[in-house]
């Protein structure tokens, strides 16, 4: 097994997930089975192959196809609109539980 219980806890922490005990067990099984399958990629020698992040890299040399916009200011989302979907706000700011613990 590639992924251990400890790894699941570590990765869940990185991903800001808590997961129940039941979810952890399931995750352990699923991650190992998917990663085993992903290991097929090691059958390929890719030492001379450049990585590719995005297909427009291929066309990216031409700035005419993907032009940059002018760097001019434009209106942004109005303050009240931006706060409308907030679970909690005081009208000026988003409110969150305290960050600094005593």
């Amino acid at each position: 097994m590639k992924v251990t219980d400890k790894d699941v806890t570590y990765v869940a922490d990185l991903a800001n997930l808590e997961l129940t005990d039941q979810e952890r067990q399931r995750m352990l099984k699923d991650l190992n089975s998917v990663l085993d399958y992903i290991d097929r990629l090691n059958e390929l020698d890719t030492s001379d192959v450049p990585p590719m992040a995005q297909i427009s890299d291929k066309f990216g040399e031409s700035r005419t196809a993907y032009p940059w916009r002018e760097d001019t200011p434009r209106p942004s989302l109005p303050h009240a609109e931006a706060l409308k979907n907030a679970p909690e706000s005081d009208g000026d700011f988003f409110k969150v539980p305290k960050v600094i613990e005593k």
């Binding site: 992924v3 790894d7 699941v8 570590y10 990765v11 869940a12 990185l14 991903a15 800001n16 997930l17 808590e18 997961l19 979810e23 399931r26 995750m27 699923d30 991650l31 089975s33 998917v34 990663l35 399958y37 992903i38 290991d39 097929r40 990629l41 090691n42 059958e43 390929l44 890719t46 192959v49 450049p50 990585p51 590719m52 992040a53 995005q54 297909i55 427009s56 291929k58 066309f59 005419t64 196809a65 993907y66 032009p67 940059w68 916009r69 989302l77 609109e81 931006a82 409308k84 979907n85 907030a86 679970p87 909690e88 988003f94 969150v96 539980p97 305290k98 960050v99 613990e101």
Partner: protein
Amino acid sequence: MDLNSLTIESTRTAIAEQRCTASALVEQFYGKIKAEDPGIHAYLTLCEDRASRQAKVIDDLTQKGAPLPPLAGVPVGIKDVMVTKGVRTTAGSKILENFIPPYDCTAVARLEAAGAIVLGKMNCDEFAMGSSNENSAYGPVRNPRDTSCVPGGSSGGSAAAVAAGMAVATLGSDTGGSIRQPASFCGVVGLMPTYGRVSRYGLIAFASSLDHIGPLTKTVRDAAILLRVIAGRDPLDSTSADIPVPDYEAELAKPVSGLRIGVPKEYFGEGLDAEVRAAVEAGIQKLRSAGCEIVDISMPHTAYAIPTYYVIATAEASANLARFDGVRYGHRAKGARTLAEMYRKSRDEGFGTEVKRRIMLGTYALSSGYYDAYYLKAQRVRTLLTRDFAEAFQKVDAIVTPTAPTPAFKLGEKADDPLSMYLADIYTVTADLAGVPGISVPCGNTQSGLPIGLQVLGRHFDESTVLRIGHAVE
């Protein structure tokens, strides 16, 4: 009017000739949706006010005898991963259960500017992650052709609504096959344009380098008409290309004879259902009779597409979904004492199992010590897969394959085995990784009456050829 047989063309004509008002048509569609959708569950939200306002705009134009826009009065549905100003947008997730977007997705805005009427938002797998629509937090969609079967996914609601005549056309999104595979399962046309052809502005991001917006329609002609409306440069998406948009509908008139069509042996191997194979081979025969030259080709890295996809897509998803933190929008867990606890609890309560699984896998692949072994490795194999296409397109004008290895499967059949579910996308993910356009068109049925889809893949920005070949097959 018979809603089941309405196409964009026939809707447009009925409105222009004043055989029906847009308002009456919209009412008729809502009547059908309310009567029939409880058994299918294609819609998550109806936007009746927005639809009736837009219908009135069209009716005013016809009354004045003013020129009508290209989609005047055409009722459409939008996959619920595209934001709609003032209309709830959930992405099929509990975490966005009450999210009311403050702006419109560019593709939606373009449809409405062209006269289309948005009826509502379509059910889908949560954050477009799934191949059966069973991962929707709001319950599955059923396949209108056989309600014991899944409609495919993740654009399952979009495909089912078109198949059931509950919308003339819909928009879906495709990251690993999510437009083409459900189109194949429901017996409709599904088009994934080239990466960069259609703006992604307002599409809730799953995997940004792989996400595409495209139409699901009853006919290839309708797909051509819709694509022209939504395609083209958008200053709000820097990856949308400033490349001229042809009149795709006019392009359909060009004959297919003389086109060279590649048939890659890797797409016809183990795991392909015998009835699907026979129907796709019959479709290829049809193209041969129409004067196409059929060429056997090889795309040697095809078997590595699914593992490559599941590293890259989950890595990008883990970053994109970090924004759901219960602060600015979305679900917030109650009773958390610290900020960190609030993040974790909100995400735990808000995300479903498959989304968590993918966030975990992606986070693992990007984590220190594993980045090179997984993420960088997958990016290198992505280059090899893209080269397979580049080499094939030196020999042929387009590639024809099955869209999916099987027809629609039963609800629950693959729900407990993520890997077997992932393999439902085995023939579609390659095009997402290489950014080339692809279409699924119906090419027959199984003995039990389930639809089968044939896929056509083409060169970057050559949707015209893909559509023409699809048109010759249907």
